[in-house]
């Protein structure tokens, strides 16, 4: 850890004068994969906050870790739906295979294991994510394969080099109700209909179901670069996953892909083409 680097980060956030404490901690964490003790002391000293308050924040939020994290992060969902479908057994199997407890990191600093409370895809439980990639309907038998994939490393589909275009049929990741609208076509295929809210306005948005096409039609004009909240028109649950867009940092919207039992995630920012297709589960 380099103390000058920490000071640089604090300066970039205006010395923490206008709040922004969590942003400072987030930036430190993203650099070092955890919050080193020395770093917290420097932040306390430089921003004039007490170390007690900082430590309280750092231990309150699960996103912060005070211990070094591994290169890859495996999150096992223990939310209600995943719990009743055997989430705890999956977590135990990971603990056995990785020889660590949840919340710990393997000796070589390769893989960290954590349990989380919801990954926003309850209909496909039990859910496990590896560095943001979703694995659905996980059974203890699949654990070994997932551990192997985590160690090898997973990468998203690169939209610049991948030219495959094919229609996909998606459903709500919460209630599993189809989101396809057979009465409204975009690009010659049934469109995907979701509800969005933006600046107190609610309206529909229809997306092209062609993978690789970014055609979209909407009830209200949404300005480019605006981040909107997506909702399922059937169960009204907010469609929001744990992952952030790797292009722009906005929250990703997970939709479950029919037939393949996979997940496609799209960026909630208007105009951003960040997306991620997982059919590996």
């Amino acid at each position: 850890m380099n103390p000058d680097h920490i000071r640089e980060i604090i300066d970039r956030h205006e010395g923490g004068k206008k709040g922004g404490m969590i942003s400072i901690l987030e930036e430190i964490q993203s650099h070092y994969s955890y919050l080193p003790e020395e770093a917290l002391k420097i932040v306390a000293e430089k921003t004039g906050r007490s170390l007690v308050d900082l430590y309280g924040v750092a231990t309150f939020y699960k996103a912060f870790s005070l211990k070094p994290r591994g290169e890859h992060l495996i999150s096992v969902c223990l939310g209600t739906a995943c719990h009743v479908r055997g989430g705890p057994r999956i977590a135990e199997e990971f603990e056995r295979q990785l020889e660590i407890k949840a919340g710990e990191t393997t000796k070589e600093g390769e893989v960290s294991l954590e349990t989380v409370n919801c990954l926003g895809a309850c209909a496909l439980g039990p859910i496990v994510t590896v560095d943001g990639h979703y694995f659905s309907n996980v059974t203890p038998a699949k654990v070994k394969e997932i551990v192997h994939k985590a160690r090898v490393g997973l990468d998203g589909v690169n939209i610049h080099t991948d030219e495959r275009i094919f229609p996909i049929e998606v459903a709500c990741a919460h209630c599993n109700h189809s989101l396809m609208d057979p009465h409204y076509y975009i690009d010659g295929y049934p469109s995907i209909k979701v509800t969005v809210s933006f600046e107190q306005k609610h309206g529909w948005v229809r997306l092209s179901c062609l993978y690789g096409s970014f055609s979209v039609e909407q009830e209200y004009e949404i300005p480019m670069e605006a981040v909107v909240n997506f909702f399922c028109p059937h169960c009204h649950a907010e469609l929001r996953g744990a992952l952030e867009c790797f292009t722009c940092g906005a929250p990703m919207v997970p939709l479950s892909v029919r037939g393949e039992a996979g997940i496609i995630q799209i960026c909630s920012r208007r105009g951003c083409k960040g997306h991620w297709l997982d059919l590996t589960g």
Binding site: E37, S50, V52, D53, G56, T59, F60
Partner: protein, 225 residues
């Protein structure tokens, strides 16, 4: 001045007074654990619940944080209030049975048994020590860590704090600290701390620095030995 009714009695109070302060000044007893005069209200222990409103609109609120309102009808000891307090005391007994303060309160409310899994915690997370350290001692040496069932109290990283002046105020205000004279055998806890003329912990070399003016006992770190 604001006029309201406490247990049917018409009373008046300055704006900004809490129900607890008002009721106590008129002699209506309300039990508290996390409240302490001179510290900011916190509303953690919920023992000070009172019932406000009428009929189906009646609800329980913590009197230590609720400011007086015009025409409010407060009941400090209705059957619903007493039921709620008895339940809170049962839960407190379940987590922290050695505390004489809690035992006395339970006894006053005729609670002699609790129905939950017995634990032997030494902290009820009332936050009195945190507030006295910050607000009266201006030190901010201790605080809450973690959340949910892992919430705990102490210094950052469990290290000796540079801000701590060993004033002992945190121990002095603790309502659960009777545990500390039971050494490491909480199950056999018969406190007796108040009967000790010399605090037992002082004999330990590691407590040399502590200014022991407190009775009955000092060393909250006794369990670490």
């Amino acid at each position: 001045m604001i006029t309201l009714f406490v247990n049917g009695l018409e009373v008046s109070a300055e704006e900004g007074t809490t129900i607890l302060e008002l009721a106590r000044s008129y002699g209506f007893p309300i039990p508290t654990l996390c409240h302490m005069d001179g510290l900011s209200p916190y509303g953690a222990c919920r023992l000070c619940v009172v019932e406000i409103g009428e009929g189906s609109n009646a609800k329980l609120v913590s009197s230590c944080t609720y400011p007086v309102e015009e025409g409010l009808r407060v009941r400090t000891a209705s059957s619903r209030v007493v039921r709620a307090r008895r339940m809170i005391l049962e839960l407190l007994l379940a987590s922290c049975p050695q505390s004489k303060t809690i035992q006395d309160l339970a006894s006053a409310y005729d609670v002699h048994q609790q129905r939950f899994k017995q634990e032997y915690e030494d902290c009820i997370l009332c936050g009195r020590c945190v507030r006295v350290c910050e607000e009266q001692m201006r030190a901010k040496a201790i605080g809450f860590r973690g959340r949910g069932e892992r919430r705990s109290l102490g210094t950052p990283f469990d290290q000796k704090s540079e801000d701590c002046r060993l004033c002992g105020a945190c121990m002095y205000v603790c309502p659960a600290c009777q545990l500390r004279c039971t050494y490491t055998e909480p199950e056999k806890a018969i406190c007796g701390g108040c009967a000790n003329l010399s605090p037992p912990c002082l004999k330990k070399s590691s407590f040399d620095d502590l200014m022991c003016y407190m009775e009955p006992c000092v060393a909250c770190e006794i369990k670490k030995d």
